[in-house]
Symmetry: C2
Subunit: 231 residues, 2 copies
């Protein structure tokens, strides 16, 4: 039995910051599944040729090769049905909405918070690729995008419904974390891993939840190597 996660790394191989890989790491921990990781870099397309895919996460679960973080979460629920991450029916639809909310609204705002820190955290050989693809996506220079103050203002507004939810439960999905928690956590962990920027005072409730998330599942996220560990 082998289980391997191809995981994005930065200028130090221990620096693992992909929001999509973090979703999967937390999902695997949620299911109690052990795995090894293979450090991967953006320019390493050849290493993923076997999966017919050009990005991480890629999960190899014995003979199975699964790509895309949300598809991996679906696969884990199907293959290891105990402790569902996403659920079925309306529950699944609602967490699918939440995934889109995180990707469409929260992640772009976080990108503006840490864009230049991300660039600095990335392996030097990957930086041209990173700049080119992200500047094409946002239609502007990374230096212009990077605007922590504006990002914090955006996040104060955007995360209001998350704060509302956290007023009545310790985790987004209730008394214990599950799929929705991991989807949002992935993006916040991405920012936290590469940057010292904070979410701002208005998001204190979100910060407190983030700290709880760092400590769940034996603190796998809290023990992760971050920019704070680099000199």
């Amino acid at each position: 039995m082998t289980r391997t996660l191809y995981d994005l790394c930065g200028r130090d191989e221990r620096l693992r910051f992909s929001p999509y890989c973090w979703r999967v790491r937390m999902a695997l921990a949620h299911k109690g599944l052990a795995y090894d990781t293979v450090a991967w870099r953006f320019e390493d397309k050849q290493a993923l040729a076997f999966a017919d895919y050009d990005k991480v996460p890629v999960l190899c679960d014995n003979e199975q090769v699964i790509t895309d973080s949300f598809d991996i979460m679906c696969y884990l629920d199907k293959t290891y049905p105990e402790a569902p991450l996403l659920g079925e029916g309306a529950s699944y639809q609602r967490v699918l909405f939440f995934k889109y909310f995180v990707e469409r609204s929260v992640t772009p705002a976080l990108f503006r918070l840490v864009a230049m820190d991300l660039l600095a955290a990335i392996h030097p050989d990957d930086r041209d690729y990173f700049r080119k693809t992200r500047e094409a996506r946002f239609g502007t220079r990374l230096e212009t995008l990077h605007n922590p103050e504006q990002a914090r203002q955006q996040l104060a507004t955007l995360l209001a419904p998350v704060r509302d939810l956290l007023r009545s439960s310790p985790f987004l999905d209730g008394n214990a974390p599950s799929g929705a928690d991991y989807l949002l956590f992935g993006s916040l962990m991405w920012a936290y891993t590469v940057s010292l920027e904070t979410l701002g005072e208005e998001n204190t409730l979100v910060d407190e939840w983030f700290k709880r998330m760092l400590s769940v599942h034996d603190g796998i996220a809290g023990r992760a190597f971050t920019i704070r560990d680099l000199s």
Copy 2:
């Protein structure tokens, strides 16, 4: 057995536009429960004294008096558990997030789309109250808030995750409408009932879903009296 919904009405008593009352009307239809309505106006606080509440919806289900649209949805699920609206556990948490998303993000943007149309639809005796409370809430004049073009731009961005979801299912909650659909529908029905303003081209998918919602449950929403029926 009597079941009565206190429902906000406008300058014509048949004009019923409250987003929160529409949630409840759809939820009652979802459960297949018959009810009468009592037309209520903002200044009619005395009529709700029995409920110790100053707003609608108020639902009287025999001896039970329930206030607040989401609490009414919870009550309906508990009392009439067939065809759950909200669900339990993670499913409930996720639709609670969606409620906050609708109230924090979508509804304020819709308000900017139809603010002056709303004022015109409201009973003349209610207009001072409406203007005073809403201008205090938003911190500016209704005439300044009302900005359909800007509202459409906001809605194009805000509703992106809703459009993403509608690309893979006809309703937000899946193949049939449920709690999440009614939460968003209430707010869009509010705008539709009082105004001819449209959501804009970018939200065609949302428009198509809205039309489907007008036709579900024997078309109770599609048959509603709107500003189009007033001369």
